[in-house]
């Protein structure tokens, strides 16, 4: 529970170097902190503040704005049950109750073995699939109480280890950006030429523009031909 480990610190420096302003790295670094400790510790936030040259108050302000950053320990698997209107009408609340009973914790709590945390969530944007829930942000649609029991035991037995990583783990989605693909790390106000990505796209855009121009020329041709034909007809 602490500041970044040496490995993560190296990664943090790499992440910071991707941005023209250090401050822009605060959110990716919060993810890194959460990955390291399962939640974002105060020590991690202080470390992030030092690395990005902002105050710790600014880091905690950013961190607590996002539900997905946890500032307290949570279980390895965080289960978000939607109780917003569509899910509520389709049994979301019963689902939550069932989970509470099965795991013997209240919403917001964590099981004694540190495996599960249940949270009562607002709309998960899957209203057509109500009732729905997430486990570490992986969706389970139109899920029944029995199916929930199945999911819990599959997680316990490790059967779902491939689909659902532990809470906070980001390795599988971590980006590495090859130097040639960096979008340019100069502060925007110093950039006078078109940004790098634009230059990269220029040949493509030029080809597109040429194709469009050709198309338009063809259409115009056709139109003139047609008018000419009409005029001939009128005559």
């Amino acid at each position: 529970m602490a500041r970044f480990t040496p490995d993560n610190l190296e990664l943090a420096h790499e992440i910071i170097s991707r941005y023209p302003r250090k401050k822009s790295a605060v959110i990716p670094l919060l993810h890194l902190g959460q990955e390291q400790d399962g939640y974002v510790t105060n020590e991690a936030m202080e470390h992030i503040a030092e690395l990005t040259e902002v105050t710790a108050a600014e880091v905690i302000g950013t961190c607590t704005f996002y539900e997905m950053f946890k500032t307290h320990p949570v279980g390895k698997y965080v289960i978000n049950v939607c109780t917003n209107i569509s899910c509520q009408l389709n049994g979301g609340e019963e689902l939550l109750e069932h989970l509470e009973e099965t795991l013997d914790i209240r919403s917001g709590g964590t099981t004694a073995d540190g495996m599960f945390t249940i949270e009562d969530y607002e709309c998960l944007a899957a209203c057509t699939e109500a009732p729905c829930m997430q486990v570490n942000y992986r969706y389970f649609h139109r899920i029944s109480n029995d199916e929930v029991d199945g999911v819990l035991s599959d997680i316990r037995s490790g059967k779902l280890a491939d689909t659902i990583p532990e809470h906070g783990v980001l390795q599988r989605v971590r980006q590495t950006i090859p130097a040639g693909k960096l979008a340019g790390i100069a502060p925007p106000e110093t950039v006078v030429d078109a940004p790098v990505w634009m230059a990269r796209n220029e040949p493509i855009l030029a080809a597109r523009a040429a194709a469009k121009a050709a198309e338009e020329a063809a259409a115009a041709n056709k139109a003139t031909e047609a008018t000419e034909a009409n005029e001939k007809g009128d005559a």
């Binding site: 105060n42 902002v54 105050t55 108050a57």
Partner: protein
């Protein structure tokens, strides 16, 4: 922000409630309406900060060409033909609705809330709000007020999330130590756990909070607003001269509030200015005259005290008599004491500065800048003086604004990085004692060479900034008392060759600029004139210049000066060379006119108690030369009386007559001797209450002294002793909420120098100079350059003044492990 808006002839016509109104292009609708006499209610908008549109209270129906619709008037700039209806049913319904929303979570605890009676939420609810709430559910609850700093308390239940305090912290003060946390209904303002809002400007958030969420310890539960009486005055806590209102109840001052003076402080105050009234209320004030009988100071009557002191003054040979101090006094009292010394007693040994300032002729001779001129958009500001964040808080806020918002370029020419450093474009840190060499290099025509420890490249870059189009202003003062004033004077004289350059004095001690204008310096007379010019036409004016504070102390220590009159001065704490001050005061007859007993008054043979600024009328001259009124709000404690009355009575007792019986008498006499003060009197100061009148007129510049730069020797480090906002100064030491804020003395070294010592943070080291040696804890600091040893001045724990020999160009020191 308004002052930076160019006053253009062009205006935009808008229609406010059916009335055509001329607005300034780019102006926000809320401001345009207010200038036209229509006040739109608001919570989050503040005219000195950027709008954010947080609270929606300023919604009005606006037609911008697409038909009437509700828009927040703090977020839209005016445009030609814009039509606004601030009174329509829809506008009223919106305002009513916003208030109902705001009151959902706001506790209805007005009867026990400090803000009750002056609360914008309370007032606007009465004016625009619903009579009743339809919200019957539970409001949100938080622990009742939590301290977010030593002085400021936050009641999160009352907070309406207007973002004023947090914007102030980030945008204005540059100390984003409070921030919104959480989201939605859970949003709260808070600090990071265990990292308090320790900003020098925290008190401003209390003043601008539109509800009772933020309160300051010195005022909490002391009074209800309707019991307060107030008068507008000037802060004397430093030399900025910020405008304040002094509020009192039952003959006790309870708080100072910032007043928006456009040329000066824009409504902001440093906490030192804001809470300094506590000291004047303190029980430690001296309330009656005292004289030493036997070993102890015993109370005596005013009659006896004045007679005895008058005798002592009269019977001392004028050349063996000296007056030290006077920066605490009002202009009028300074004039009276100058006349007492130079007109009645016949001594020119008068110096308001304590060896930590600059030559008076230099300050008065340089072309002066106003704060507005220094902060002009696109200008260049050379900071060659103390850290303004530490010594001149309200000026720091203006300079920061100029750099961040108005494109001013700041060049730091300081011994180490200052609070303005993060806003500065160039950082030149000359070795102490070599500042003049660097200044010469900055204005030289020849290709730059490495100078005074600063690289040629850095000098070349700074030269380019100085040669830019904008006006150049030098903020001039003593960054360190361990570097001689002569070095800075020579540096300033070099910089005068910059075309059009102006200087803003950064001498920081209270009314020191008034003292210089009133002739409280050897060789000077009131009105920025010299003894030689003979303007005063007083009977006993000496013909040759007298001694400076350093010379007087030296003379007293040597036995060639017998009597020292201290005017609110504490040389033992404030004179750079502590030893010399001790020896001098121990040797001489000392008479003190002061508010408090100090280390120096311990040597006094008589003490005359003076009235504090809030207890006497008068005027103040700020670092621009701007004269504003100081107004009396309460009566002085005991029999303390205004300084100018003391001066007049001492003159009588010494067999003379100042001819002063009122402040009007003083101004009549000033008018007679000082063309610089022409047109200033009590009436004109009343008429220009807020912005005051700027004194014009300069002296001939002194010649450069040509001090040779300090040379490195075996001592290796150069000492820097600089002032901090909080120290053991008399006013702070007697303010309960600020007294404990002095950081304590530690030695700061560049991290590499620190590592070379091989010690832990906070370990004891011994610092020795040619004159003394002290042990103190050591810390690494990225702000300090290699080879520099930086220490804060006068923290009240360790006396570093023994290291300094006054007059030395710089102080070389050795730093060794362990205590001596």
């Amino acid at each position: 922000m308004t002052d930076t808006q160019p006053e253009t002839e062009a205006s935009v016509t808008i229609v406010v409630d059916g009335q055509e109104v001329a607005a300034r292009p780019g102006e926000l609708l809320i401001d345009a309406c207010e200038r036209a006499g229509t006040y739109i209610p608001r919570f989050c908008y503040h005219e000195r900060m950027k709008p954010v549109g947080m609270c929606r209270m300023c919604l009005v129906e606006v037609d911008t060409g697409r038909g009437m619709g509700l828009q927040p008037s703090c977020m839209i700039p005016v445009a030609e033909g814009m039509t606004v209806d601030t009174q329509s049913e829809i506008t009223k319904k919106a305002q009513d609705g916003i208030l109902e929303f705001l009151l959902i979570n706001h506790p209805l605890d007005c009867p026990v809330c400090d803000k009750g009676g002056e609360c914008p939420l309370q007032d606007q609810t009465m004016a625009y709000g619903p009579g009743e709430s339809r919200f019957v559910e539970e409001k949100r609850h938080y622990e009742k007020p939590i301290p977010i700093s030593d002085t400021v308390f936050l009641d999160r239940e009352r907070c309406i999330l207007c973002d004023r305090c947090t914007r102030f912290a980030k945008e204005v003060a540059g100390d984003p130590l409070i921030h919104f946390q959480g989201r939605g209904n859970q949003t709260e303002v808070n600090t990071f756990p265990d990292e308090p809002f320790s900003s020098y400007f925290s008190g401003n958030t209390v003043q601008i909070c539109p509800v009772g969420a933020l309160t300051a310890k010195p005022y909490r539960f002391k009074a209800r607003p309707w019991d307060l009486e107030e008068t507008e005055s000037t802060s004397v806590a430093d030399a900025v001269g910020s405008r304040i209102t002094v509020q009192s109840s039952r003959n006790q001052v309870l708080r100072y509030m910032g007043v928006d003076s456009d040329p000066v402080n824009w409504g902001w105050l440093s906490d030192k200015e804001r809470f300094s009234f506590e000291a004047f209320n303190s029980d430690e004030r001296i309330t009656e005259p005292m004289a030493r009988s036997g070993g102890d100071l015993e109370p005596v009557s005013w009659g006896a005290a004045i007679a005895a002191v008058g005798d002592a003054l009269k019977n001392t040979d004028p050349s063996r008599l000296g007056i030290i101090g006077g920066a605490r006094l009002t202009n009028e009292s300074q004039f009276a004491f100058t006349k007492l010394a130079k007109g009645v007693l016949g001594t020119d040994n008068v110096d308001a500065q304590l060896g930590d300032g600059l030559p008076a002729e230099l300050v008065l001779g340089l072309p002066r800048a106003t704060i507005d001129q220094a902060c002009a958009p696109g200008g260049t500001i050379i900071l060659m003086g103390p850290d303004p964040k530490e010594t001149l808080g309200a000026l720091f806020l203006r300079l920061k604004h100029a750099a961040v918002e108005d494109g001013a370029t700041i060049i730091e020419v300081t011994p180490h990085r200052t609070g303005l450093g993060q806003y500065a474009a160039h950082h030149l840190h000359p070795l102490p004692g070599e500042t003049a060499a660097l200044a010469a290099a900055l204005v030289a025509e020849t290709p730059a060479l490495d100078t005074a420890g600063v690289s040629a490249d850095a000098i070349t870059a700074a030269r380019a900034a100085i040669a830019g189009d904008g006006p150049v202003t030098v903020i001039l003062g003593r960054a360190s008392v361990a570097e001689s004033a002569a070095v800075i004077a020579d540096a300033a004289l070099s910089l005068t060759s910059i075309p059009g350059v102006r200087f803003l004095s950064a001498l920081s001690r209270s009314n020191v600029h008034g003292a210089l204008d009133m002739g409280m310096s050897p060789g000077l007379l009131p009105g920025r004139s010299t003894l030689a010019s003979g303007t005063a036409n007083w009977p006993n004016t000496p013909s040759t210049a007298g001694m400076s504070t350093a010379q007087m102390l030296q003379a007293a220590a040597d036995g060639s000066l017998d009597t020292i009159l201290l005017l609110g001065a504490d040389p033992i704490s404030d004179f750079p060379d502590t030893d010399l001050a001790e020896r001098a005061l121990a040797n001489a007859t000392v008479i003190a006119v002061d508010l408090f007993e100090t280390a120096s008054t311990d040597h006094a043979d008589a003490i005359l108690p003076a009235a504090a600024p809030q207890e006497a009328d008068g005027s103040f001259t700020n670092l621009e030369g701007r004269v504003t009124k100081i107004s009396r709000k309460v009566t002085p404690p005991g029999t303390a009386r205004p300084d100018w009355i003391i001066a007049a009575e001492l003159a009588m007792a010494a067999g003379g007559d100042l001819g002063i019986e009122s402040l009007d008498d003083v101004w009549a006499q000033i008018a007679a001797v000082s063309p610089a003060h022409a047109g200033i009197d009590t009436a004109s100061l009343d008429a220009n209450q807020r912005d005051g009148v700027v004194v014009e007129g300069t002296l001939d510049l002194p010649a450069a002294s040509g001090v040779s730069p300090a040379v490195a020797d075996a001592y290796a480090y150069r000492l820097v002793v600089s002032r901090r906002m909080y120290d053991a100064g008399t006013i702070l030491a007697n303010s309960p909420s600020s007294a404990h804020l002095a950081s304590g003395t530690a030695l700061h070294l560049h991290p590499v120098d620190f590592d070379a010592l091989g010690l832990d943070r906070g370990a004891e080291v011994t610092v020795s100079s040619a004159t003394g040696s002290v042990s103190l804890p050591v810390e690494p600091s990225g702000d300090v350059p290699r080879g520099v040893a930086a220490v804060p001045a006068n923290q009240g724990d360790i006396v570093v003044g023994t290291l300094i020999a006054v007059g030395d160009v710089a102080t070389n020191v050795r730093v060794e492990r362990g205590d001596s």
